[in-house]
Amino acid sequence: MIAETGLAALWLAAGLAALQFVLMILSLRSGADLSRAMRSIAIVQGVLTLIAFAMLLIVFARSDMSVALVFENSHSAKPFIYKVAGTWGNHEGSMLMWVTILAVAGAFLAILARRSGERTLLAALGAQALLALGFYAFLLIASNPFARLWPPAADGQGLNPLLQDPGLAFHPPTLYLGYVGLSIAFSLAVGALLTGEVDSRLARAMRPWVLGAWILLTLGITAGSYWAYYELGWGGYWFWDPVENASLMPWLAATALLHSINVLASRGALKAWTMMLAVIAFSMSMVGTFLVRSGILTSVHAFAIDPERGTFLLGLLAIYVGAAFVLFALRGASLKEGPPFELVSRETGLVINNLILSVILGIVFLGTLYPLFVEALSGEKLSVGAPYFDAVAGPLALVLAILVGIGPLLSWRRETRPVFKKLQVPALLGISALAITIILWPAMRILPRAGFTIGAYLAGASILPIVGRNPLRAPLATWGMVVAHFGIAVALVGMASNAAFTSERLAIARPGDILTVGPWQVQLSSVIPTAGKNWTAVEAELLASRGSGVISLAPQSRYFSDPPTQTSETAIRTFWNGQLYTVLGREDASGAWQLRLWWKPFVTLIWAGGALIAIGGALALTGRLWRLVWRRRTRPESGWRRERYS
């Protein structure tokens, strides 16, 4: 019954989405006031998808093996948290989660949005309904998560052990919330292009959604990076894997959008460009979903290789993005641009920011799909990896980081003050860092050296917007910007340090052997068998010391029985100045063990920087929402409400 309830809720939600879309067309054509009906439908639709998702959670939590999806992706012996998280550790479940977030976001748009014009909001609700409708069809026709299995199986086939990690509970939902949050920006942009009401009111309505989605994407990418770092046991934090790129591309577009939307909100300028970015940001989310779900690119993430589903998703992508682009091409010209600005102004700074981010986005996009284009045209196979991305995107990102220090100091429209004088102290910091790296480490490569230099400069420059003013009176949004920009500096230093100072040791060791890695002496003291709830393992006991005190680490080589898979469980110890990272490999014929040891100075700054960037976003969002609430309290009967209830 539970699975059938979920399925019924999904069908109902799909019907309501269709109705919502039809109402949108009716109301835009005839001007009839259908707003109340549309809002209610959007809310009910959100509730229905939540019910469907809850039903799937229940069948997974109860290990109901009569549901095919549970049988294929779960096992009764799994720890409870992975039974629950396993709900979205598979194709159907994760697509249901995607649709649920899409519909719930639509419901919140119906409840919250009051700033954009009423007609634009209705058009946006219609666009959101059409988006949802495509994905409902995808679930119901090509990926039914509630399909029954007859006869029910005795037990399931288990969950990929790489996914049996707390990371699974958070990484996909966070990324999906971010991906799908951008759908609201997409729908609002489409709605505004339909009604022609592209103005600062729209930008202010769209901004919290973009900000929220961007925060979650930042968190999702940062957490995903750390997850890959400790779970895969390769010691790297970013691999330029196609699916990592698929999450980076919406982030880059959203970052550009986040900045250009401020120009639209404050100055009424960059209208067409901002709408384009809003469309592109969500398009990139759909491209990402398509790449993961179709499995057409070779990747650690390629779970489901199914051409039929790929075709369906590609069709949806082509329809939605194509329609939005056509709309843009037809309506973009009628947008009147806002007031002009001088060459040296905050507008120019943000335009350059957008240009560089777009170029980086283009570079990542090209690098990700280039092998596909080449093989389609010439039949030749090649792969594009870190050397390309590092060499091409790296320097651009560094140039952007330099400008990040300057942009916030400029004033709107026209800058007449001697701004560059303010940058003396940060410039001095950068030059000192450069001098130190040249003196102490003359052999350091250019990118890490530039990373240290620009990181030090930016750490100083990023806090300038609140220097010299009462910090308590600075708006929260300004604080958010400062924290986020400071986070870039922190992450940059972490990356530079990881690139320049990591020491690696690969060795075959017998119990008793002592290995040196960086400042550490690591002794393999013993290798013993151990077991968990659904795995057995061999565990090495490592005793590490650098001068005083001994710490012990226990990396494992785990064997999971359902399905049979071997994984490396790394053992990592974090210190204020770096991480000691250890991996146990196989035993060779003579009874010696493969060990991989890394000492990574200040590597944690990479994720700390990512977290700071997200915290900065959260501060800005809090500030914006606070002002929204505050304004509403002082003027409770504003906007469409006043019109309707008066």
Binding site: S294, A329, F373
Partner: protein, 182 residues
Amino acid sequence: MAKGALLMSRALRFAPLGLLLVIIAALVWRLATPADTNVHSTMIGRAVPNFPPVAATMNTMDFGSSDLAKGRPHLVNFFASWCVPCIAEAKVLDVLKSRGVSIYGIAVRDRPGDLAEFLERSGDPYQLITADPQSDVQIAFGSSGVPETFIVDGSGIIRYQHIGPIEPDDVPAILSKFERAR
């Protein structure tokens, strides 16, 4: 001038759409022609690499690279007792053997005891078997997994590579390739 600029800006506004179509076309192509993830050997058309005869079990006869250039073609089959598809393939190899194909086996990363047991259980279509304990011979042939099969002609030139187990359906094709190598 103004008209030209207008046309220009209109073209520019349709540019994203054009780009999208190109990308969609590439993605459609990829969906229609799934990627070939096999690793194809670059040794086709070249002489077999040198390797010495190494005894695989107590009861089997071994062979080296020089035995492959004695005027008659051979099927060189990389297999292992720990390889599950090889169990199914052994029956098909028996069929080929009964059609007069001489099959030489190379046992990859195997142990004599396990191998003897495998031959007893799954059948022994091999005339000769050489052990390849560290995959050296396999890598020299340009093979990336088991089972894989090469057709070597009478002068010791590698003529054909079959990746994965030989299925019953593949028998006619293998036979004709083998005939051509004579």
